[in-house]
């Protein structure tokens, strides 16, 4: 990661941060964001996402390490000289100014002439389809409209980097999805580098080029959404992103990239070793519900299978969600697509389940 830092637009180089001098809120953060990239910081509450963003914006100083912007360290540049656009979680629109005044504020402080200012404000408002609202006050706008204005204000002075801290947290689901779409579109159209903070994983997966999963002050995994979902590198990421079935066991053998794991119930399964290697090591295996197969025809002939009893069948429209009792667990979930030929399992039914070894990942315990 440190090596990649040379060509990144935004680079965190071994950054640490402590507020109280006793605990590190951010521990050894290394991160590189390419120009034009949309990076999302995803993580549970208190994992240090906002802190990282604040350090980047200049409102907090790193206790240790360097933050580089365009190759230059910015530790000593005050926030107003960094030229970073920022959208706050509560929008922070100035309540005593109209929307147009809010937007022209960053231009005024940059001493841009009146006519140019007006033109830019109109353009920015047009970008978020809010042309007619320039004369209103923030309190006279709905949440979604305020959100757009906040976005327009962060973009109006054409920054190269925009930071957004849970900008959609206060919106309802439908509006959130709509805004997710608009934000990504806008970011890509304008070619701006975006660092986006959220604790909503769907948001992270749908919007980003890359997602950095935070936990405990560290980046647990930095990858594109699909890789993150399909190839989690540790059990935290596996559990944090999407739904997962996890089972504890011990490695029996590792051969040809396939590790045989003996579950605590005694059953043997095939897995792909990710960050385990030696037989005898404890492991947490993880399998996505939609990758579990109970149709024998679709499995390898020599695949290990497990006996399962159907506990509950839930009809969810587009998919079926079935709860199984497997290897001592009674909340093993499988998901199947609602296709015409799909079987609907009955509670009490005994089935055999299995999967492709590469879908079942043996991770740290």
């Amino acid at each position: 990661m440190t090596n990649a830092s040379e060509n990144g637009f935004v680079v965190f180089d071994r950054v640490q941060k402590s507020y109280d001098g006793e605990t590190l809120v951010v521990k050894d953060l290394n991160l590189s964001v390419g120009r034009g990239e949309f990076l999302t910081m995803l993580g549970p509450s208190g994992s240090g996402k906002t802190t990282c963003l604040m350090m980047l914006a200049g409102f907090e100083t790193a206790t240790h390490g360097d933050i580089l912007l365009g190759g230059k360290p910015i530790n000593n540049i005050p926030p107003h000289k960094r030229g970073i656009g920022m959208v706050f979680q509560n929008y922070a629109l100035f309540p005593h100014m109209t929307i147009a005044e809010n937007l022209s504020f960053p231009l005024e402080v940059r001493k841009i002439g009146k006519s140019e200012r007006e033109e830019k404000v109109t353009r920015a408002l047009g970008m978020v389809q809010m042309e007619t609202f320039g004369g209103r006050r923030p309190a006279q706008l709905s949440g979604g409209q305020q959100q757009r204005v906040a976005l327009a204000r962060a973009l109006v002075f054409e920054p190269e980097l925009v930071l957004m801290d849970e900008p959609l947290g206060a919106l309802d689901k439908q509006l959130r999805e709509h805004m997710q779409f608009e934000i990504t579109n806008l970011a890509h159209e304008l070619g701006i580098t975006t660092v986006y903070v959220t604790h909503d994983q769907t948001e992270a997966l749908t919007m980003s080029d890359n997602v950095a999963v935070f936990d405990d002050g560290r980046i647990q995994q930095l990858a594109a959404p699909d890789k993150l979902y399909e190839e989690p590198e540790n059990s935290f990421v596996a559990q944090f992103i999407g739904e997962n079935n996890t089972m504890l066991g011990t490695i029996q053998s590792v051969e040809n990239g396939v590790a045989v794991v003996q579950l605590d119930s005694g059953d043997l399964i095939d897995t792909k070793p990710i960050n385990v290697s030696k037989p005898g090591e404890r492991t947490r295996v993880s399998i996505r519900p939609e990758r579990v197969e109970f149709n024998k025809d679709r499995l390898h002939a020599d695949a290990h299978t497990l006996k399962a009893e159907v506990v509950e069948f839930i009809y969810m429209g587009d998919i079926f969600r079935t709860k199984l009792k497997v290897a001592g667990l009674d909340d093993f979930i499988i998901k199947t697509r609602n296709a015409p030929d799909q079987r609907r399992l009955q509670p009490g039914e005994m089935i055999e389940i299995g999967w492709m070894p590469e879908d079942c990942r043996a991770l740290d315990a």
Binding site: P78, P79, G85, M86, N90, A92, F157
Partner: protein
């Protein structure tokens, strides 16, 4: 359940909605609300009563007092009427002096004339002593008549003789005269007792000797109700003799006396025969004998000008004007102090207000932005003055600021100030401003603090992230949002300081006193309550106008006190 729902839908289609018990819904709702309102009213009734009694009523009384001026017409009712015809060109005629004599005599007996003297002295200096000496000498004027009558017939010395004569031995009483005099007397003497007078003037005698009957009735009322004595046993006032003299000076009366038959008719006839022995010059010369000033046009003009029951005089005085015979004119230069005091009060209150803003704003900002533990401590320090007596705080400033005080000592010790030129920092405007700023500072800090607390720090961050320097972010983003707090604090501080009294009194000296000190002086020392009330009313009006202007300009909804 189903019953209720059908009846509901029935009701909604046909006629007014009915409540469960069949009464129209509107009526039962109103009844329920009224019950609730009554209960709420009962809860606040003690407070309401308390406020009415201790706050609204005194203010109403003050407003009333600032224009009320019934003392002149109550004390000198006949004089006021007689003065109606006076053109003000030269001194008034005998008729006025005569009316004044009878008014003043009664007033002197009731010891009310000095109050009137004090009142009129506010307008024209010297009247107070004029009234006092004349009141003292009013007996002498009547005695001149008394001596003549008693020489003519010694029975005029007897209380019983007079009583019989005035009741005409129990003839038809003149109730109209009695009730008229009783009313006048009640207006003059506020706490006159009520009860049986034991006397009523006979209609016969009041027709024959109107002035005498009037004077004797006054005497009877006063003797019975104010002194609690028996009328028939007391010697009449000297004024009664004077009144008899006035009556008998009339030739028609003298003729009528010749045919009068009632008790004491012979004595009256003898007295009528001696009419030419009565004092010649009348009341006018008698008054001028007592004091030359009774010929002064100014005195009479003052009495006439202030004879109305309500007067703008106090208000005019409050703005250094006065009411004179030819309209409104400015007061003498040496009496013009109120405009100056009002200006000074406003100027100093504004200075105090701005000092409070300057000192309070940073503190409130710290309070709102420091970590909770530190800011709590700071808040306690801010509130500390509230827990210390006002007098102690003010006295502490005396200790600090006086010429031999701590600050001067330090300045002299450090050589900044020469020992001979110690700074004068107390008993002047500076001292008042310093002490009052200190005392009123919490009233600025608290509203500011509560407003600043509601301004999220993200606004400042947002402004900075948009490229504003610290100063621009503060000035363009933070400050405008704290304006409601400044407004609330300013209103509080300004209104409190405009009416402040104790501190300027203690540390203000002569140049640092406020209008309120003058009001206090008039309330407790000069006893010119009318003027004090007018000054107070102007102050009240000024505050209300400021409040209104503030509402117009800033909007009172924008004021946040917490």
């Amino acid at each position: 359940m189903s019953d209720a729902s059908t009846s509901m839908s029935d009701a909604s289609t046909a006629g007014p909605m009915l409540a469960a018990d069949g009464t129209p819904l509107k009526r039962s709702l109103r009844k329920a609300l009224r019950r609730e309102k009554m209960r709420a009213l009962m809860l606040i009734a003690p407070l309401l009563f308390f406020i009415l009694l201790t706050f609204i009523a005194p203010i109403a009384d003050m407003l009333f007092r600032s224009v009320e001026n019934q003392i002149v017409s109550n004390t000198l009712p006949r004089t006021v009427i007689a003065l109606d015809d006076w053109d003000g060109q030269e001194e008034p005629g005998e008729k006025v002096y005569q009316a004044l004599y009878f008014d003043l005599f009664v007033a002197a007996e009731a010891k009310e004339h000095t109050k009137l003297g004090t009142r009129l002295n506010y307008e024209e200096t010297g009247i107070s002593s004029l009234f006092r000496t004349t009141g003292r000498r009013s007996d002498d004027i009547g005695e001149a008549y008394q001596d003549v009558f008693e020489d003519v017939d010694p029975r005029f010395k007897e209380a019983g003789f007079w009583y019989d004569m005035m009741t005409a031995g129990g003839g038809e009483p003149d109730t109209a005269l009695m009730s008229e005099r009783l009313g006048t007397m009640n207006r003059l003497i506020a706490d006159l007792a009520s009860g049986d007078i034991g006397f009523a003037p006979a209609a016969e005698i009041s027709a024959l000797l109107p002035k005498t009957a009037e004077a004797y009735t006054d005497f009877a009322i006063f003797t019975a109700l104010a002194d609690g004595d028996v009328v028939a046993e007391e010697d009449p006032w000297e004024a009664v003799y004077a009144a008899l003299g006035v009556d008998l000076a009339n030739a028609e009366t003298r003729d009528a006396v010749q045919v009068y038959e009632g008790p004491g008719a012979d004595a009256l006839r003898a007295a009528a025969a001696a009419a030419d022995q009565l004092p010649a010059g009348g009341f006018k010369s008698a008054f001028l004998d007592v004091d030359e000033d009774w010929a002064s046009q100014g005195v009479w003009e003052t009495i006439k000008t202030y004879s109305a029951s309500y007067t703008p005089g106090y208000f005019l005085n409050s703005v250094d004007l006065e009411l004179s015979a030819d309209g409104i004119s400015p007061r003498d230069e040496d009496q013009q102090i109120y405009i100056l005091l009002f200006k000074r009060t406003i100027f100093m209150s504004l200075t105090i207000m701005f000092s409070c803003i300057l000192l309070g704003y940073p503190i409130a900002w710290l309070l709102a932005n420091l970590p909770v533990r530190t800011s709590n401590l700071l808040l306690i320090l801010v509130l500390l003055p509230f827990w210390t007596s006002l007098l102690v705080r003010t006295s502490a400033w005396k200790v600090l600021l006086q010429q031999q005080g701590v600050i001067n000592d330090i300045l002299v010790w450090s050589g900044i100030v020469d020992d001979a030129n110690r700074l004068v920092m107390i008993n002047n405007q500076f001292g008042t401003i310093v002490a009052m700023t200190h005392i009123l500072l919490p009233f600025m800090i608290l509203p500011l603090y509560s407003v600043m607390q509601t301004i999220p720090p993200s606004y400042l961050r947002a402004a900075k992230s948009l490229g504003a320097t610290n100063w621009t972010a503060f000035w363009r983003v933070y400050f405008p949002q704290s304006v409601p707090g400044i407004g609330a604090g300013s209103i509080l501080v300004f209104i409190l300081s405009i009416g402040y009294y104790i501190t300027p009194e203690l540390v203000g000296g002569t140049t640092g006193t406020f209008i309120s000190n003058r009001i206090a002086y008039h309330i407790s020392s000069s006893l010119n309550w009318g003027l004090a009330a007018a000054l107070g009313s102007i102050l009240l009006a000024a505050v209300l106008i400021l409040y209104w202007a503030y509402d117009k300009i800033v909007g009172i909804d924008n004021v946040k006190l917490g």
